[in-house]
Symmetry: C2
Subunit: 482 residues, 2 copies
């Protein structure tokens, strides 16, 4: 393999170091992942963005089914009276609900909420469907959109409407519900790390930060390239909070009426934002092969020369037949240089260039987007080597992201150190468990991301709370959050 | 193959002949396809119903992609001002729009419609994205839910919210747009006939019946078991109607500003209603194998006898490995008789019974749901024969439906005959093309379904309009419609 570094940068994207936020906007618009909608706070997911979402959906959905879940569809409208039954939940969501007050020409008697999440309507039906322990568990999931009337929005990261999946399950015992809660968090971690190449910290949220109505909330937290944390998935154990409010009772094996245990868990199109901000570089996107809508792009070089187009078409067919997602870019309206930039911008993991000289030598020129290395491979048998190449890119992207995350995680012992650490990543610190200290740290350093990792490794931390000096209860990751 | 007719009917479903409407309600609720929602006119699609929808989605989506379409997601909310730009369209949809007037604590300046369909917002973005002929065509589709504030609702057939796909495409020339319109109708026909086993008449709607804002609407019409027609999919050619209203212009190859040509096409969860009412019988559902969530159910008989459970598990694995959707019903809480009824009710195409006597003889007892025949097959190599058996069931269901449809289609020459024919199916009649005659026939016989088939075979019809006696312009199918 002859290797040489390629040095043609795309010039029309703001460098990350200059203005990360503008870089993000440039990338999402110029790669046509999405566009702003003529509706306040909403976005349009364009084909390239939606194709990524379909890959994520597939990775998630197959795992949901493998763990015994079934898909359903519940109405998007929820009557106000249903929403009001669980007090904490209402309080959490009411300020950001969009209300339907008119249907056709008729003014509605009762306002209907566009679902901000669906616990309330799932619970209403579970109360109807469940009679005995034989009916349990019910492990349902739905893919849909939800609406939260957000003030400040950013495409993929926070929009008024977004696409997600929401799992809602009920169980006979607290143990089963807790197992479910953690199983689904583990499914999320697996998809994040193995499919999206996003290293994540998994752990529990504080009392203050848990979901409205939950007894415990768990999350996975990823590190973006600007040093901010992004909550990439959550899993909640409600205990009997909702089943008491909605009357989900069943006869247990001993014949006694018992409240059911409930969980819910969700991930959203936000994951696309995480992929962009974790892997992207100054040339644009870098997509992990396992979710790249196009894994390999083939570019004919000097396409007018005999044999070039034919060789490209043969190569395309060979790779497609081998199961890869391939695109042959045979546009004759743009230059090869434009195409190079275009596909680097779009983050396609592998580019294959096929020109007359390559064909003479029986090779193709390979460019891998993760390292920007260029080298040649024998044309003969390339389909057999492609999986290995893509796996190597997948692993490399994960490794780069993990190195970045690890070097942007700092154990700290003082408030001053904590303040410095959250400027560029995660601060890992001892915490006494008191709300007062949590608030103080949050307010002082804008540490809006807080997670108590399952891995309570305390290396480099103190035995006493970083804030008040009292005995430590937890190791906590603090960061600024998206 | 030893055959015997099985005679155990499920008793708790109203017979179709007694009350078709009640039969339908019994079937959808007892098979747990769906349930009524605590929201006016909405339904909940339960796991078994949603699994059918996923099969339909897959059949459609793979064909959309094979014909060059890409999936996207557009916002569910549409500002009133956008909706108002195309006059006919507004008039058609405004009476059934649900309006959002409040977001969080804020009263909105402008009302937002929950999309009843998305032409208006697609057109708004197309106007922004399209500059030259090089940008065309754009062939987009989205899977989403839409909301229409219906007065009378029935699960799957007509609900306030329903799931669907809507394709929206723009093209440079009228010819391309017309080709697209008909290509997608053909995709629908293929899915309906080859996958859902629903024979359909394909053709054009009258001027009166076309979609609000369309220049031409095409549809496929299926025949339900009560003799009513069901419109199962539509495809519209808008010409430049919308692009003029929304300003979708492009520079053509000659450098001249030109309005784009537009199409849209849709199918919905209504198709599930069509499957139920076409194939169902007095025992419940009969699902075509290609969309059945469970194609083969395995029932252990005398499961406590040595070897039975093991044989069932081995069989399950063998069939799963061969790619079939299989369920082993090893419940020990219900009797074998209950299971028989249960799976017949749920319409599973093939039931395999495995008991000690079967095992002694090296066979399984096979029950096919379409014909209710029972016979035995050698256990050894059954996976190899399963595809053929399922194909045969698929074909048989189609044949039965086609025979029913054909015997419920009557060419007629007089109004009296037409009136009789639409009592039990399609009346095929000559029509002068005048709105007045169309209205008269519709009003007199409640012939709310009207379609001019592409196949204008006039056998048995007259040369003059069945209503006014003027020269005939079209052959038209008339029926009562869902």
């Amino acid at each position: 393999m002859a290797k040489e570094k390629k040095q043609e940068f795309v010039t029309h994207i703001t460098p990350r170091s200059e203005d990360f936020s503008q870089w993000y906007t440039d990338v999402i618009l110029q790669t046509e992942l999405c566009d702003y909608a003529p509706v306040r706070g909403c976005m349009i997911i364009r084909p390239y963005g939606y194709a990524i979402w379909e890959q994520i959906q597939q990775a998630m959905d197959s795992r949901f089914k493998a763990t015994g879940h079934q898909n359903v569809y519940f109405p998007m409208l929820i009557p106000e009276s249903l929403l009001l039954k669980e007090a904490e939940h209402v309080e959490g969501f009411a300020p950001e609900v969009a209300w339907v007050t008119q249907g056709g020409t008729e003014k509605l008697q009762e306002r209907l909420a566009i679902r901000p999440t669906s616990e309330t309507i799932f619970c209403t039906m579970y109360a109807k469907w469940v009679q005995t322990w034989r009916d349990l568990p019910l492990k349902y999931n739905q893919w849909c959109s939800v609406m939260r009337w957000e003030k400040a929005t950013r495409p993929f990261l926070r929009t008024s409407e977004f696409l997600w999946q929401e799992g809602h399950t009920i169980h006979a015992t607290p143990e089963e519900a807790q197992e479910e809660t953690l199983t689904m968090l583990e499914v999320y971690r697996e998809v994040a790390e193995d499919v999206l190449a996003l290293p994540v910290y998994v752990g529990q949220k504080s009392e203050k930060e848990k979901f409205a109505g939950a007894r415990a909330t768990y999350s996975m937290e990823a590190m973006m390239h600007d040093g901010k944390a992004l909550q990439a998935g959550t899993s909640h154990n409600f205990g009997t909070n909702f089943s008491e409010a909605y009357g989900i009772q069943f006869q247990n094996k001993e014949g006694k009426l018992t409240y059911a245990q409930e969980t819910s868990w969700g991930t959203s199109t936000r994951l696309i934002g995480a992929i962009i901000m974790t892997h992207g570089d100054d040339r644009g996107l870098r997509l992990p092969p396992r979710i790249a809508p196009i894994q390999v792009v083939i570019l004919p070089i000097a396409a007018h020369k005999p044999g070039v187009n034919e060789a490209c078409e043969k190569l395309e067919k060979e790779l497609k037949d081998a199961g890869f997602r391939v695109k042959l870019d045979d546009r004759d309206t743009v230059s090869a240089g434009f195409k190079f930039n275009d596909w680097e911008l779009k983050g396609v993991p592998v580019r294959l260039e096929v020109g007359p000289r390559d064909l003479e030598n029986g090779v193709v020129t390979v460019f891998r987007r993760d390292t920007c290395e260029k080298f040649t491979l024998a044309l003969d048998g390339i389909a057999g080597e492609m999986q290995q190449l893509l796996d190597s890119i997948q692993q490399e992207l994960y490794n780069q992201a993990k190195t970045f995350r690890d070097t942007h995680t700092r154990p700290v012992k003082t408030m001053e150190e904590l303040g410095e650490a959250v400027q560029e990543g995660f601060a890992k610190a001892a915490w006494c468990g008191d709300r007062e200290c949590e608030d103080k740290i949050k307010d002082q350093f804008n540490a809006s991301s807080r997670n108590m990792p399952f891995d309570q490794n305390d290396e480099g931390c103190s035995d006493t709370c970083v804030c008040c000096g009292k005995k430590r209860k937890h190791i906590m990751y603090f960061a600024k959050a998206y």
